[in-house]
Symmetry: C2
Subunit: 412 residues, 2 copies
């Protein structure tokens, strides 16, 4: 008798996380071992709260469902920020989850997520081992932050990087039109790792030199050095564009954001981010027009400009996860190995989840310039292939057509 599978999504959204879900659904549909694929609504909580969606459609619907799911942003199954307790302290929830698995004849559970979600995969697979369960527990990575260990890069990063690079290029076009001197600061996501901010450098082309300065969380941020950098760039060109990570911090590790007062003059529990802080610093020191732009959530949900490379890899990871489960692999996460950079070529492999969960990968020091205000060519070469290729989006009445998600947001 064929077994069923459950898949869920967790953590923050990306543009590619539904592509991995589509890959799981596609592979289960084609599987000889597995029957129905259930989606758990709001991550692992859907199993606990019995909110499951049958994703195995009829033959005439499945192809369109998979194609549209593949390019839809955020999470079709919703998300959660739920952290499992240690089962040695409290195994009640584990007992319940594995009871549900048995009841529904589940053969495999796939969790698509970032660091915290891999902690759930680790705990579930440990517990499963302990009770002698043969249910496969497999992690599928995703995060725009690109901060998961062992894998060459993470699904979702390439699309976010493409959005950041394209936005910086378009902001450059917008900025260069005025002949008056100006500074434009673009704040990019990434609290602890600068991968996504570094992607701003991909906007440089034959005519665009922006961003002219890049500040990452990996390099201690010095306010005085920053003002010197900006003055130097302003001496060379009219319009200076700066990419800054939301997570920049001083040499003592203090963030330049959130509720930290930026100065006596503008202080008083500002609810502003790093970009606004830098805007204030410049306003206090240099007589120049200055503006800050926060790319905000659009960098993780603008599916209409997704990277085809990213979407296809994410889809393949979903498919491969099912194949791994069929082979009996459990307690592992799918990873991407880069075989060569030019031409860009990858293979998909697995890695033991215990080496991945609760660790984070930052940019190596040698990929950042000595002054700490730009990236080195090696990082450019690493990022460049990940944003290539464009997805085809259907539009209706001028709007992108994504998969409806009304099952996530019930209205009373």
């Amino acid at each position: 008798m064929k077994k069923n599978v459950i898949v869920a999504q967790s953590g923050g959204p990306t543009v590619a996380i539904n592509a991995s879900l589509a890959g799981v659904v596609d592979a289960v549909v084609k599987s000889d071992l597995y029957d129905t694929v259930y989606g758990s609504i709001n991550g692992i909580l859907g199993i606990i709260n019995n909110r499951l969606l049958n994703l195995s459609k009829k033959n005439n619907e499945i192809s369109n469902f998979i194609d549209t799911l593949k390019i839809s942003p955020a999470m079709y199954l919703g998300s959660c920020r739920y952290k499992l307790p240690d089962y040695e302290d409290d195994d009640a929830v584990y007992t319940y989850i594995f009871h549900q698995f048995e009841k529904m004849n589940i053969g495999a559970f796939f969790y698509i997520g970032g660091n915290d979600s891999m902690d759930t995969v680790l705990k579930l697979s440990h517990y499963g081992n302990q009770i002698g369960s043969d249910i496969r527990i497999i992690g599928i990575p995703k995060t725009i932050d690109n901060d998961l260990c062992i894998t060459d890069h993470t699904p979702g990063y390439g699309s976010a990087a493409k959005y950041v690079a394209s936005s910086i290029l378009e902001i450059a076009h917008d900025t260069y039109i005025y002949s008056v001197k100006s500074v434009t600061i673009v704040e990019i996501m990434g609290r602890d790792a600068g991968w996504l901010t570094a992607a701003a450098a991909l906007a440089r082309n034959s005519y665009n030199t922006a961003p002219h300065l890049i500040y990452l969380p990996e390099s201690p941020f010095d306010q005085n050095k920053f003002i010197e950098d900006v003055k130097y760039e302003l001496s060379r060109r009219n319009n200076v564009i700066i990419a800054v990570s939301e997570g920049i911090r001083d040499k003592d590790g203090n963030y330049f954001s959130a509720s930290k007062p930026t100065s006596d003059q503008f202080g008083h529990a500002q609810l502003s981010g790093a970009g606004k802080c830098l805007e204030y610093f410049i306003k206090e020191s240099i007589n120049v027009k200055v503006r800050s732009i926060e790319l905000n959530v659009l960098q993780r949900c603008a599916a209409h400009i997704a990277s085809l490379t990213d979407i296809e890899e994410s889809f393949s990871l979903g498919c491969e996860a099912v194949i791994c489960a069929e082979k009996g692999i459990s307690g592992y996460m799918l990873i991407i190995n880069r075989v060569s950079n030019s031409p860009y070529n990858i293979t998909i492999d697995t890695a033991d989840i215990k080496n991945i969960a609760n660790n984070a990968k930052t940019i190596p020091k040698e990929w950042i310039n000595k002054q700490g205000n730009d990236i080195m060519p090696e990082l450019y070469e690493y990022m460049s292939p990940l944003i290539t290729g464009e997805v085809t989006i259907s539009y209706a009445n001028g709007l992108p057509q994504y998969l409806p998600i009304d099952h996530l947001n019930p209205v009373n």
Copy 2:
């Protein structure tokens, strides 16, 4: 002997202003009356400072140049914010400009811009009349704000509206994934007119009800009523999404933005906008997760998601401007007449510049609901056709390929 023409761009950028420039170039290339088309760099200042670009390419280059120019964001010729003095007070600059026109054998001058630029067109054509010049002076409208009089709508508005609607839809996907209650505020451009903020309503489709509240500059904003609105929406759904214009003001006309303290607690010359103000109001009154997003300059420069309707109309206006000049029309602005809404059909006409310059068009009261927190169906019907159709963008190395603008930003 054939005459030459000069074209220039002025004011804030849009995604469609280069399409009008492409239309002018295309029509001059095909013209029997006109020879070379010169682009004036940084608006009218290019004529004064003798910074002119020959836009008449060789035959084998012109088609690719026009096609790429048509879909490139911002302003290929750069912009200015220069206001001509009254020639009755000081005609020195007028004498110089018309001297340059004569020297270069100019037969027509086209100015693509918004309200302030039409003031320049008005003054130049008055002065031209007074000195008996037969040089045609013609205005071509553009502004994302859609606030020019007489024309049904303005080139650039449809693309910005499409960006706003698509972004709200993608933000909805991003927001709906969590089951915890939240409020998301999206601040949209438009200081005095709410046309662009209203376009957020175009994001509503079969499954998306966001934005759930819309606040426009045309309706006086009441802080207490706002909190009531939000509480009501939170009682109906988990995730409330609000579209707010940067220009909302109270019944006395005071803006909720810029340096106006938002409250005693958060005050002290906040450099924040309307979205941040509303975020503070909610944080003070309701115990709910709240975030504000400022769409910022991307709503006027994200050419990769331009409206085809907008781009084609903008191109046609550029072509028609040249044809009008050939017919001897001067002191007029090109306008769009809507012949029918379903099917959407327009004609291009002209209107005397003196009825357009220095006036602004806001949303009619009857197109806003009585509570002042949403739009009426008539406004939806008006906006809907303007965002339809998608442009085809070429990508190289994962980035949109726009026309290089290195002539605007010299590096020392």
